[in-house]
Symmetry: C2
Subunit: 451 residues, 2 copies
C-alpha cells in the first residue's frame, strides 16, 4: 500500500491535468451538448490508466454509458463497482461566473468549472486510485467495474434500463456512489442513502397569443392562473397539500435518529454561505438534519411568463410555465405521487393546466449495519483521520435502481467540499481533497479485498 499511496502523491499534477481535460469538454445533458464527445473522452481516459473500457448503448437518443473493468488476479471473486456520471448541469447564468465555466481554471487550491466537483472530480479520483494499483503492483486488490452514465443531471431516465440490460456485466458485491461530500471541518461524509425525485412542468396556455395588458379586465392571465394552481399545492410553511402525499412516509428508526444526532452540521457556516438569516420555518439543530434526510419538498426550479427583460412592457402573456421538483423519501412511489398530483389539479378545477412529467425516481437507504459500511469507515479514518455518517443525502440519484437490480449495498464517499457550489456559478473542486480522496479510494479497494 505504501507504494500505491506514494504513486498517488507523486502524480497529482497528472490528476489535475486530466480533470481540466474533462472540464474543457462540455457535456450538458439537458441540452444534449457534447455528450457523445465526452463519453468517448472518458473511455479513452480509462484505457490510458490501464482499465478496459467499452461504450455501451441503448437505442438512439439515449446517452451512452461508459463501462470500465479490471479483473483482479489475486482476488477474482469480489467486485467493487464505481458509479459515476460524465454529464453536467447547464452552466447558466453565464454572467455570474468569474471564468469561462468550461475552462478548468486553477487558482490556489481550487479548480473551477462546471463539473469540476459534480462529477468529473469524483470520477478522476477513482480512475487515479485504480491506476495507482496497476502501475505499482501490476494488479488490483479486487475486481473493479466502472459504470459512468451521461444522463444523471436530467434524472438518470435510462440507467435502470441499462442496469437491467447489462445486469450480468455489472454484477458486483458493492457500489461506491458517484459523489461524496466533505464537510466544513474537512471530514468525509459516508452517505447511506438518497432521496427520490419527481420532476414536472406545469403550464397555462391561454390566450393563444400575447395581448395588450389593458385586456386583463376580460382575458384571464395565465401567470395568475398558474399561481392560483400552485397555491393549492403547498402552504407557506412548505407542507404539501396534495391528498395522500405523505401516506407512505415513515418515521426515522431509533438507529437513524442516533446517527442524525451524531451528524455534525455547521448552521452558522451554512447560513453565511447562502446569505440567509434563518432556515425554513426557523428550524434549528436536529430538526435541520431531520429535514435534510427525511422531508419531502415541492421546490420551484423555474418560472417563466411574459416579458422579463429590461424595462416595462404592458403585456398580457399567452403562457406561463413552472418547473417543479418534488423530493421524495423511502416508500414514496414516484408514479403514485404523479397520479396524486394529476388528480389534485383535476379535483381543484385546474384541468386546463398542462402537466409534463420529466422523470421520477424512488429514494433508497443502505442498512447502517451492512459490513461494507465498516470497511468504508476504516478507509475514511485511514486517509482523512475521521468521518461522518449521513443517514440520507438531501439530493437524488438512481440508488434505488442499483440497489434493487444489482442487489448490492451502495455508499457515497468522495471529494466534494460541501460549499463547492455544485449546480451553481463558480463551481469548484478543492485540490487537496481530490488528492486525499484518491488515497481514500485506494484504502477502500484494499479493505474490500480483505472482506
Amino acid at each position: 500500500m505504501k507504494d500505491v499511496l506514494r504513486y498517488v502523491r507523486d502524480n497529482s499534477d497528472d490528476l489535475i491535468a486530466d480533470l481540466q481535460r474533462l472540464i474543457r469538454q462540455p457535456s450538458v445533458s439537458a441540452k444534449n451538448e457534447g455528450i457523445e464527445e465526452c463519453a468517448l473522452l472518458v473511455s479513452r481516459m480509462l484505457k490510458k490508466s490501464g482499465i478496459n473500457s467499452q461504450v455501451l448503448r441503448l437505442n438512439k437518443g439515449v446517452a451512452p454509458v461508459v463501462f470500465g473493468e479490471v479483473m483482479s488476479k489475486k482476488n477474482p471473486k469480489q467486485t467493487l463497482l464505481f458509479y459515476n456520471h460524465y454529464d453536467v448541469q447547464p452552466a447558466e447564468p453565464f454572467d455570474l461566473w468569474d471564468d469561462d465555466p468550461f475552462s478548468g481554471t486553477v487558482r490556489g487550491n481550487r479548480i473551477f468549472g462546471r463539473g469540476s466537483a459534480d462529477d468529473k472530480g469524483e470520477l478522476i479520483t477513482r480512475i487515479k486510485a485504480v491506476e495507482a494499483f496497476l502501475k505499482t503492483t501490476g494488479d488490483v486488490p479486487c475486481n473493479i467495474k466502472f459504470v459512468i452514465e451521461g444522463e444523471e443531471e436530467t434524472g438518470s431516465a435510462n440507467i435502470e434500463r441499462y442496469l437491467k440490460k447489462f445486469k450480468k456485466k455489472f454484477e458486483c458485491d458493492a457500489v461506491i456512489w458517484e459523489f461524496g461530500y466533505v464537510d466544513s471541518k474537512d471530514r468525509p461524509v459516508i452517505g447511506l442513502g438518497m432521496k427520490g425525485l419527481l420532476y414536472v412542468e406545469l403550464s397555462a396556455r391561454e390566450p393563444v397569443r400575447d395581448a395588450h395588458s389593458s385586456l386583463a379586465v376580460i382575458i384571464k392571465n395565465p401567470a395568475w392562473r398558474l399561481i392560483d394552481a400552485l397555491k393549492t399545492l403547498r402552504d407557506s410553511s412548505g407542507r404539501i397539500l396534495i391528498d395522500g402525499w405523505y401516506d407512505e412516509v415513515e418515521k426515522f428508526s431509533k438507529t437513524d435518529l442516533k446517527l442524525l444526532a451524531d451528524e455534525p452540521f455547521d448552521e452558522v457556516a451554512f447560513k453565511k454561505e447562502y446569505g440567509i438569516s434563518e432556515f425554513v420555518n426557523s428550524k434549528k439543530g436536529l430538526d435541520v438534519k431531520k429535514a435534510l434526510a427525511g422531508d419531502p419538498t415541492c421546490n420551484i426550479a423555474g418560472f417563466l411568463s411574459g416579458y422579463t427583460q429590461q424595462g416595462a412592457k404592458t403585456v398580457l402573456p399567452s403562457s406561463a410555465t413552472v418547473k417543479i421538483d418534488f423530493r421524495l423519501v423511502p416508500k414514496m412511489d414516484p408514479k403514485k405521487q404523479f397520479a396524486r398530483l394529476q388528480k389534485h389539479l383535476r379535483k381543484n378545477g385546474f384541468s386546463d393546466i398542462g402537466i409534463k412529467l420529466y422523470h421520477g425516481e424512488a429514494a433508497s437507504r443502505t442498512d447502517p449495519s451492512d459490513p461494507f459500511v465498516a470497511q468504508v469507515k476504516a478507509a475514511a479514518k485511514a486517509s482523512f483521520g475521521s468521518y461522518v455518517i449521513n443517514v440520507s443525502n438531501a439530493g437524488t440519484g438512481p440508488m434505488h435502481s442499483f440497489a434493487s437490480v444489482l442487489g448490492a449495498p451502495c455508499l457515497s464517499i468522495g471529494s466534494t467540499y460541501i460549499f463547492s457550489r455544485i449546480h451553481s456559478p463558480n463551481e469548484f473542486a478543492r485540490i487537496d481533497l481530490l488528492k486525499k480522496t484518491t488515497q481514500c479510494m485506494c484504502h477502500i479497494l484494499n479493505n474490500f479485498s480483505h472482506a
Copy 2:
C-alpha cells in the same frame, strides 16, 4: 376639400413607402434602441411634407420630443394639436413573427411590423392629411401642431415635464390623441378617455446564490416567497385585496351608461381572435364593456425565476421577479396607490420583497358634451359613414397630463384595426384604413376651422 381628398387618394403609395421607412427604423424605448435616430427621421419627414419641425430636449437620457407646426393664414386663431409617439414596444418574442418585425413587409391589404399600427401608422395619416392641404391649397384650415414623443411605450415618464416646459409652444384648443381604433365592422371608435397605470416590479432575493434544489428543505425558495406575496394582492376573481384600493372609484354616470350600452362589442370575434372560451368571471354584454371602460386591474406582465430553458435543472433559484401593471380609473392617484401597495406588503409581513416603481399615470375622460366631440363625429361620418363612441379606452396614455396642463379636450380617433395585434407578434396596419383615416383627418381639420 375635393382636391384635398383627391390628393390623399392619388398619393397613397407615398404614404405606404413613408410608413415602411418609419418601421424600418427600430425605436424600442424599453431598450433605448434607435430612439435618437427615429426622432431625427420623423423630424425630416415632417419637413418633407411642408411642416416646420424642431427636436426638443430635456436633460440627457430623456428621449427627445419632435415638434411640428404649421400656421394657418386664413384662420390663425384656432389650433389643433396632434399627439403621437415614435417609439415602439419591444418586438420579443422574435420567433413568433412571420417576418422580421422591422421589415415593414406588405402582404395584400396589410403592412406588418412593430409599430406599423402603434403608433407609426397613426402618425403617417396625420402628416399626410396636413401635406394634402398644403400641396393643394397652399394653406391649412387652422393652426396645426405635432407633439411626437419617444417614451410612450415605457409610460411617458417625461411628457408632463415637456408639457410644462413648452406649455406656451404647445398651446392649443383641442388634442387628437395618438391612437384610434376601428372596430370589427370597420367603424372608427371616437374615444373620450383613457385609464391610468401603475407599473411596478416586485422581487425576492434570497439566497445570495443559486443552490442545489435538495436544499429546499431548509432554504426558503424566492419564487414561492414571491407567489405567497402575490396571492395577497388579488383574489382568483381578479379583485384587488389591497386596503383602500377602490376607495376613490366612482360609478358610471347615466350618460356614460347610455353610451356604453350603445357601444358595440363583438364578443364572438374577440373570443375567436384570442382563442378563449369565456371572459374573466364569465362576463357578458354590458358587463364586458363596463369592465373595459371602468375596471381597475392587477396584471402580471412578466415573471422570471430560476431555470427556464429546455430540460430539467434541479435548482433552488437565488431570485424571483415579477412585473405588474395595475390599470387605474378616474380619481385614482398613482402615487397614493403605490403607497397603498407598499403599506400592504409591509403589513402582511413581506418587508423582504423589493419594490421598484417604473411609473404611474392618472386616468382621464373628456366630457361627451364638449363641442369638439360633435366635430370629430361629423368627420368620422363623412369619411367612414359611421362611428362608435367609447367612454374610456381600456389602455393608458398621458391624457391626464395633456388635459390638465394644456386645458384642452382630448379625443382619440385613428386607423388601428381592433385586431391589429399591437404589442404582440405580427402587428399590422390595414392599408385601406390608413387611407380612410387620412381623409378623416382632413375632415377633422376642415370642421375644426369652422368651429
